[in-house]
Subunit: 436 residues, 3 copies
């Protein structure tokens, strides 16, 4: 199903798209078999460790909820026609609906129906995790057409003690400190939010696992939103302290431009790294300041953790009309945009892997570059970026500036600066400085 080719991001984007399509119909929620099946299929593509946390486990201010499973659900109209059916879309049932099997009037049914008057052909996505109730989501057009009479409703669900599931893919590196890549994986048939994020995590994990050598240890989390992040943080306080850089991956398949929402710290290395990558990517982009609303950066950036975790997106949550509706479907995302998100995320990883602090071994005056084969020998006036990068790296490598610092001050792409540093290292003109 998957074909990796990091140098051809469109090919990767197509594989990502296929995975999104495969996972689309599963009846996901924050707990239950739908989530487990999602994890099982991801586990065919990358190595995963799965953790189950029993219902009732206290996790900070919260408690792991009962496990919810949904087998069937439908509504029949007074004529006995099945007008709503779970098999058409997992969005039709309010997530975490308690079981129900009743006959009722339209008046009794109405409070349990959810639709979108402004988008009469779309089905909304609704949840009720912490309030035991039941409901159906449907198009406003259908809702308006309902006639008086007797309706029959069935939600064949269970809400019982069980466990909350999350999965981790850990790729060890030279440094036990970690890069955290987290995606909420609990939403049912919503393609951008967040099947796209899942596929980006899988694509990055595959690309990174193919490497001979990794500087950092990478940890990918496939977790239910909010309660999953809280559960992971509650179970892993020591691991949380190892996080040096992190990204929440969400909404990365739509046709909008890339958006990066900074971590709470605002100027953490991850924030500067993503900003640098986007600035040099040659396409429109947007940088947003942190706000304590959004995805699981809310938990990672809570004051007791304050982790350097930003959010990597295309169009942010709530800023597209299709958000949390049936219109966030497989037509709303494209292989090309998934592939572009992958390519830029890989640039971010490359920069995290390659950033270092060096010390110029010949700090007094410029060293001779010509005799070391690094420079033209006859005076001229052209100064391509590479030669300027050589001079900048030598000038700034005083042990206090990283290559990212150099690239930012020189307004050169990190890759050019990294290449210059490699050549200077080979020529003995740099040595490694204190770890960044």
């Amino acid at each position: 199903m998957w074909s990796d080719n990091p140098v051809n991001s469109l090919t990767v984007g197509e594989a990502m798209y296929r995975l999104a399509a495969d996972l689309y119909p599963l009846p996901r929620s924050i707990t239950g078999e739908g989530f487990r099946e999602t994890i099982r299929r991801i586990g065919e593509l990358i190595p995963l460790a799965v953790t189950e946390t029993p219902t009732g486990t206290p996790v900070f201010d919260w408690t792991v909820p009962k496990e919810w499973n949904l087998r069937d659900a439908w509504v029949t109209d007074p004529a006995g026609e099945r007008i709503i059916d779970l098999r058409d879309s997992t969005l039709h049932v309010v997530n975490y609906s308690v079981p129900v099997r009743r006959t009722l009037s339209l008046a009794e049914l109405r409070p349990h129906l959810h639709s979108l008057p402004d988008h009469p052909d779309w089905v909304p996505y609704r949840t009720s995790y912490y309030d035991e109730t039941w409901g159906f989501c449907l198009t406003h057009r259908l809702r308006e057409s309902l006639r008086e009479g007797t309706y029959e409703v069935c939600i064949d669900s269970s809400l019982e003690p069980g466990s909350l599931t999350y999965a981790e893919c850990v790729l060890p590196g030279d440094d036990p400190r970690e890069v955290l890549l987290s995606c909420h994986s609990c939403h049912p048939a919503l393609a951008n939010d967040n099947l796209s994020g899942i596929t980006l995590a899988v694509a990055l994990a595959r690309a990174l696992s193919a490497r001979e050598h990794r500087r950092w240890t990478y940890r990918f989390l496939f977790i239910p939103g909010t309660i999953g992040a809280i559960t992971w943080l509650a179970r892993n306080p020591a691991l949380a302290r190892r996080v040096q850089h992190g990204l929440v991956l969400a909404c990365v398949g739509d046709r909008g431009h890339l958006t990066y929402k900074r971590s709470r710290r605002g100027n953490a290395p991850i924030d500067r790294t993503v900003a640098h990558v986007l600035r040099h990517a040659g396409a429109p982009y947007e940088l947003m300041d942190f706000i304590p609303y959004g995805y699981d950066e809310r938990q990672y950036c809570s004051p007791g953790f304050d982790l350097p975790v930003g959010c990597f997106m295309r169009t942010p949550n709530g800023q597209y009309r299709e958000y949390h509706t049936s219109a966030d479907d497989l037509d709303f995302i494209t292989p090309a945009h998934l592939g572009d998100s992958f390519a830029r995320a890989l640039d971010v990883v490359q920069l995290l892997e390659g950033d270092r602090v060096y010390v110029n071994t010949h700090p007094c005056c410029e060293p001779q570059l010509g005799t070391r084969g690094l420079y033209r020998t006859t005076g001229g006036t052209d100064v391509p970026g590479y030669e300027l990068a050589l001079l900048w790296v030598l000038n700034q490598s005083d042990g206090a500036h990283s290559l990212l610092d150099v690239a930012e001050r020189a307004t050169l792409p990190f890759g050019v600066v990294r290449r210059a540093a490699d050549d200077l290292l080979r020529a003995g003109l740099l040595r490694e400085g204190a770890s960044a």
Copy 2:
């Protein structure tokens, strides 16, 4: 005469206007009975402690001057007509003129006359505190019409050892540290500069004294400009050190927009507080950097004190044509603008009273808001300011950020943030942090 109604700032503005009109005719100067009568009338509205400092008292580099009193003054023309009369306006006599009773020619009289060629119908305001001379101020039209002949002049004044008067209204609070509100009260018939400032001080003192509870101790100073501030500072060095926040109140009745001139520190809490209030007031405003010219902030912000005292104004000194002329009269100020200045100054006080540093008692991940009745329980997409304020206060309450810091970072009005903090406190999710 006064009717308080802080929630109706226009009503307060009308009371302020009536007070300005009442004080308008009094023959004020930096010393003397005109100033004392002004204080006596203010003392009918708020509790005042009056301090007299004898002539000759050294106050830093200065000396308390002789006391000046003015009983009568006039000029008659060659026809015996009284063409200038103190009873028409206290501005007609150069402030601190020595006594004179003489007959002289127009040529001899001319050097003692002051008028404004560019504004031929206005009478200028002139002083000569530190040079013993005498003079009259008149319209340029009148001056131009004077014919040759013999004039008689009379200034029935006295300039003798006496004392300099100032008054203080102190409203104790929980914290002995003080908020200083200072207005120069020495100008004669000038409505904006500074009867308006006097009325704002009175209105604020009345509003604050009506409160059951005050966090800060408030000190209102009614002082002669420059020499009064210098005298107060020289007599009260220990009190000066208690000043945590301060405002000079001046020119707050004209039709211009509000202007705030920052303290010498530039980013003191009072500077950030007033900027925040103006930014969220929904009307045009201006922020000015400190300059060592203006009102008594010159003294409070001298380097030996460097107090966090800014200047709260509408149109600043010297930036309106009517400044220091008879055209700065009761038509130049309005109850509505006085009331608006009061409303915003009260917002400033509210913010100073309400700003605190809190510590989130559940700093690891977000606490549950729904179970505490603070939050919606069914997922949706609307995020009104209040709910975002809850999240911001929780996220930023790490003991290092005040509510004003939170409001600024969240770009929310302080009031919304304060309300969210109150609810979080009641829910046990915050505790008080170290005092700001």
Copy 3:
């Protein structure tokens, strides 16, 4: 030849221009008699100490090169016509060409010819210091007209052990710490780059040596570019540590506006000083951030030294078409622009000489200015810059702010602030603070 008149910068500019014209024909290079003759002529105008450093001396990562001298050079065409002749322009020979005397075909000659296709009437400037070869520079028009046949070439040069020459003019001041003014003096017939820089150094040295009193010690360096700066730094590490402020002077005679390139530090006093001077000079100007490419600031600002040395220019290297061609001739520079560069550089020196930290002796409240004859005695509304400068100096003189700090905060020209400080010093209202 020289007439000094610092108050008439055009007169100085004319003297600068005459010096440039005098030096223009000399066959300069980074070593040899052409450089020595240049130094000898400068030494007729200002006192110089000349240092010779033998070929082979190691200087940091470099080695002092062989000495190059050029006596004659020409090319004859198949008709025996002398088509290129050193006597027409020193640019015709590639600098550091090894001796050659050969007969060769046009095909053999071609690789040794350098011209500018885009500027067919200009002769380029080429060097080959570190690659032993030979070549001629000529107009593209001439090169294109060459016919097949036998050519004869002669370069009567020597490249042998000798020494590298540089010259210093040191003007002692009260403070042994130094202001470094450096200009590369090795370019042959190029008027802007850098005969103009040489003439500016001479003009400043003459103006400063005429003073009775200097605060700082001034050191002017006339050095070959790159290798000269490296040699000076290698020989004088202790002197380098004494440099408090510095400027590289280059390209200061063209018709463009002034440009200042900041030091590596970016906000050193010299950077703030030049920016202040240009901001108040009433003409367009440009400030550039440091880049490690350009003139000898590359060496002074290498990380092992990191000296506060910026670059004072009109149009920067490489930003004018005539750069490093025969079109950078005596018509490309003007006495007026040389004089303007001198006037502004002198302003920079004045500011460096006059900047001080003072302490207000009466820091509590404002002192009386009127009684000290520093201020008007009758109240008015006009506030000329001088009076505001008095107030700013008093307000900011807390021992932490220099007069430049005051001028910047007050947005007043340094000269006005300096004059106010002089008057306050005389009045006993300031005393000297800790040295800046």
